[in-house]
Amino acid sequence: MIDKLNNKKNKIYLNILLAVIFAIIIILLDTERIGDNYIRRILNLSAIYTIVSVSMNLVNGFTGLFSLGQAGFMAVGAYTVAIFTVPLAERAKIFYIIPQNPVLAQIELPFVIALILGGLLAALVAILIGLPVLRLKSDYLAIATLGFSEIIRIVFTNAKSITNGALGINRIPPMPTMWVFFGVAILSVLLIWLLINSSYGRAFKAIREDEVAAEAMGINLFKHKVMSFAVGAFFAGIGGGLYASLLASVDPKQFYFTVTYNFLLIIVLGGMGSISGTVIAAFVVTSGLEVLRFFDEPLTLLGVNIPLFRPGFRMVIFSLLLMILVLFFRNGLLGQKEMSWKLIFDCFNKKKPRKKTDKGGTAQ
């Protein structure tokens, strides 16, 4: 039966079936017929992490640039949404120590506009960072983006009339439905996928494979690196904006550069050249991080307190996983391939012959 399924027409039907099942599940969750708020929140967070991880993969996995700035770009997007979507009437209650900048205090934007603005601002910042750094060998990009992530947090903590400093901004209007998160996620992944599979995407991959050869084939390294970096930042900003409305509040401590490690783990786990791998890994890691919380609580087994389990253990396990992945499984789940029905069917085909011999062997 597996072989019968392995032709083009049937694959399209399978894809449609999958999409329908997925849509039904989301609708059921969204209208609260199944699941609870905790599950919904994890799924929404996974959708957001998908957007940011795929944007990071565009830059790191497909173009070969080592950028560690996603947390910073998320912060830009998050704060843009936070600053502009809180209803004007509420602003004074939030900016109660130092009043909000008078220009900003009059502007309230609809969510979509603020979201896109956040993405654009993040892209602008990326271009500003990229201009000096990307003209050279990309080694320094890691330090520059890591530094930027730190600095943005410092700036946001200090620019009190704009960002309310360490107090953060709350009362951000929440989203009415899960479809906002999943819709934007689907759209973002689609757009990035389209970009990767266009001529420009191929140019990015050429830069990753061999910069010298790419340049020799007429590709302007600087222009394309900045392009990739800016697009990556744009979507990270979008992810940040959604994050702000999911949590309904932002503060500088949420965007400590260590947040970037989550996305790094996701893209290494999924495969640094695979979009579908990243999507799968995003859901696995986001839920995994929740499951791992169990490591942070004291554990008693058969009445004995296991001393290892206390706060902080979760992150040790997490960072050990990252190290194990990069040392032993650096291609992750899918490497540079995309998930396809062919891959799944091949998995089944590999298992079939073994089962047959088992049956034959035990027939005594």
Binding site: L195, A206, A216
Partner: protein, 256 residues
């Protein structure tokens, strides 16, 4: 009509002079060879022409325009393309992708048009695809178009590199030891390709150690030694010049 002139070019790396006061002129539509023992400065000359190095002194004129010091991508856009001594294909990408990438420099659509699959960029993509497949067909690689580049046998990889350089719509092709390591069959095919390219009016500058190829296809030779031009002329003149023989073989064995 000369398509390329290298005028008084000197290249110094710290204390080492790789190329010393080099003067070369390449005639349009002809096949020119740059020969000489290892370390004579041939690949350095290539790197200077293609913009990888900026010469310490001198200039490079292409079609009357001074291209000295331009970045490699700009030089390729002007019509000069090259292959590499140690093959530098995009190893993990398919054969077809390698060729398509070489088409990218001529693209008119911006990245937004391409991403949103707007009609004119779809047209360009189709056109690039057709062009690339035709080129692959001409070089006998069409059947391998979906293979990963590093899985190809050596001879086919070298051929792919040449195809990739041609895909940039180059008018001047720089081939760095294209025949290295080829067997008889691959060699004959290479010879046909080179002559075919010449027929299309593309000028070729060749660095090569396999004298059989040089003898078969080349119109004019320049011999380098220790970064300087030793002599130049038609192949048979160069081949029999005692100084050239001495450069390759050393003084004692100059008797032959």
């Amino acid at each position: 009509m000369s398509i390329l002139q290298i005028n008084n070019v000197t290249m110094q790396f710290g204390g080492v002079t790789a190329v010393n006061n080099l003067n070369i002129e390449v005639q349009e539509g002809k096949i020119e060879a740059l020969i000489g023992p290892n370390g004579a400065g041939k690949t350095t000359a290539f790197n200077i022409i293609t913009g990888v190095y900026s010469p310490t002194k001198g200039n490079v004129i292409y079609k009357g325009e001074n291209i000295t010091g331009l970045t490699p991508d700009k030089i390729t856009k002007k019509g000069i393309a090259r292959t590499f001594q140690n093959i530098r294909l995009f190893k993990n990408l398919t054969v077809l992708d390698n060729i398509l990438i070489a088409n990218h420099l001529r693209i008119n659509s911006g990245f937004l048009s391409c991403t949103l699959r707007l009609p004119w960029s779809n047209r360009e993509e189709r056109h690039m695809l057709e062009k690339s497949e035709m080129l692959l067909d001409k070089l006998g690689l069409l059947g391998l178009k979906n293979e990963i580049a590093h899985s190809l046998p050596y001879g086919e990889q070298r051929r792919l590199e040449i195809a990739r350089a041609l895909a940039t719509d180059a008018k001047l092709l720089l081939l760095d030891e294209p025949a290295a390591g080829m067997n008889r069959e691959e060699f004959n095919f290479l010879q046909d390709i080179i002559l075919n390219v010449k027929q299309q009016g593309i000028t070729i500058l060749l660095v090569e150690h396999t004298m059989e190829l040089v003898e078969a296809v080349v119109d004019h030779c320049v011999v380098l030694n220790y970064g300087q031009k030793l002599t130049e002329g038609p192949f048979c003149d160069c081949e029999s010049d005692p100084r050239v023989i001495e450069a390759y073989l050393g003084k004692e064995e100059a008797e032959c």
